[in-house]
Symmetry: C2
Subunit: 393 residues, 2 copies
Amino acid sequence: MTLKYANRMKGIRASEIREILKLTQKAEVISFAGGLPAPELFPIDAIKEISREVLEEHGEKALQYATTEGYLPLRKQITERMTKFGINTNADNILITNGSQQGLDFAGKIFLDPDDVVLCENPSYLGAINAFKAYEAKFIEVPTDDEGMIISELEEIVKTTDKIKLIYVVPDFQNPTGRTWSIERRKGLIEIANKYDLIIIEDNPYGELRFEGEIPPSVKSFDVEGRVVFLGTFSKTFCPGFRLAWTCASEEILSKFILVKQSSDLQASTISQMELSKFINKYDLDKHVEKIKSVYRRRRDIMMKTMKEEFPDEVKFTYPEGGLFTWVELPEHINSRDLAIKAIDNNVAFVPGDPFYPNGGKFNNFRLNYSNMNEDRIVEGIKRLAKAIKEML
Amino acid sequence: MTLKYANRMKGIRASEIREILKLTQKAEVISFAGGLPAPELFPIDAIKEISREVLEEHGEKALQYATTEGYLPLRKQITERMTKFGINTNADNILITNGSQQGLDFAGKIFLDPDDVVLCENPSYLGAINAFKAYEAKFIEVPTDDEGMIISELEEIVKTTDKIKLIYVVPDFQNPTGRTWSIERRKGLIEIANKYDLIIIEDNPYGELRFEGEIPPSVKSFDVEGRVVFLGTFSKTFCPGFRLAWTCASEEILSKFILVKQSSDLQASTISQMELSKFINKYDLDKHVEKIKSVYRRRRDIMMKTMKEEFPDEVKFTYPEGGLFTWVELPEHINSRDLAIKAIDNNVAFVPGDPFYPNGGKFNNFRLNYSNMNEDRIVEGIKRLAKAIKEML
């Protein structure tokens, strides 16, 4: 039998992270690999209560088909939460998706023809790279520093490149670097998009998990022309097992997302949406987020402190003000894939950096997650990593 | 602002069914439009119980990220249920999807380049047409009678057509016609696929809902070369609100479905999969299906009886041995869209037939659903429809 797949399948490969996660199932592995929330913080008892209530009050409705757009009360609650990011919108601008990953996939499906160009940070989020590659996009990595994309470099690329369709950014506690864009760069980005008539995909899965300072206004908050598509999620503030996230866009663009949702999987889970909506109504999601933040803040602190103490001076790492990740830079001659193999032999796991570069190339970085391991394991894991690094110097 | 969408967006349009469903939300409308299960049969109390148990026993796991493939115990249970269709497979051949619609979308994404050809029944399922159109496929409708595709006509088309990638069929209680393929035609189909090296997508959402006779062997049961992708779902036997379905394929083909699932939305809901698995373990899903069948059988009977009594002789309709739909043929000069407008004025809804023809053309058919209305409403609704038809003769 000859299997003739579509051309786009050439660009789709297994997520390195999910392959690594399979190796980290063993209890003895100290894993800094996934972007997994701390499961001990999941509001299990509240969800139990709420699940019972939803089934008692609206059982038939909760188990039936529902609209593609999503559960209206939940969409309204989302618009209220979006004010945190300086966004005033309404339920007609919100589509409920199965995780933000689905919003990324839909953005690709709606905008990208083969060989269209996506501009992204350098490095950028692996899941977005994979989603867009599935539509045969090309990537140009815009030079990026601790404040975000360098706007002059961005403009130079925009001026000299054909077929740019999207600019993809994660301005808050970026995955993988943990870096946050300055307000000036956010404004600069939207000015470029306005001037050159481009669409921005602003991916914000971690913005609410800010450990210090104020949440900065989102890129979308500066968008008066409706050219920013904002992706938010409940995976990090509630739980990922529910697979509930949202896309916020102008009605014109959102109508395309709704059409694509219809042909892709009709709708998100009716009962899960109703449960989450009731949770937000009945419990205080903001208070729950505070609890998550206080735990993650301590974990970040202990990881930073231990890295400072244990890592050789040649090793650099970012200081994230929130979110789930820090990004480590090794001396150039050390390949983080070799380190990963050495680390896994010592039961420590992380994600090597090169899959975060869509066009390949950099091998001396890696990503560490601090949300999923307790403080003792963080200290122990970093010590083991430090030892492995020193052996490779 | 200029919005430059991908080419594929030209082929994606709103599902007629979901637009009509919006009109049928009013309580006074007797709706034969959607393919909605009877909500009064949903096992609400059992789900309440099971949800509590899953959260008590595996709360942290149920709310966390999990594998793309799906929950292994559920995948094993599915393989057991597949024996009903004469299919012996194992969990490595099963991917959990968000409804069968997602399996259709993935089939398109994996196999279809622009202008590739999908062969389908005449008429065919609207949701599949929309899913494949999103990948810029072309369709050829294979002449189809009460026993399925006419194999000699199929072979003639296959011999004379380039770029055929998929043959899409719904052999059991087809949507929209309610017709079921004979065993000979199933064998004939697989012979053609083997001879001309083609992939078959066998969509089987209703096969378990057989009111009389034995479940025939599926097309996949005759597949020794691994060229049939089988789509099954719990939307009609359990509930659609959970959005749980599956794709069964050879390991080689399934590996592509898993990759595409990963870049599309990572995974299905962890907690919903665990709940469904526990339901199947603890309650008797087959017994529940018997209950659904006995209710739908009576509804089919009363719809058939009332149509026979009330519809003019010129109107023909299919006799479904199971599933959710019958297909009505009006005299050629009556446009079912005109009838639909007249019907909705009398608070009766159905889906006009033309969207089920991917290349357009036939306007004198329509689809009736009998699973979602009680017997009194079926009688009243058919009487109103009959009156409207008579006025148009």
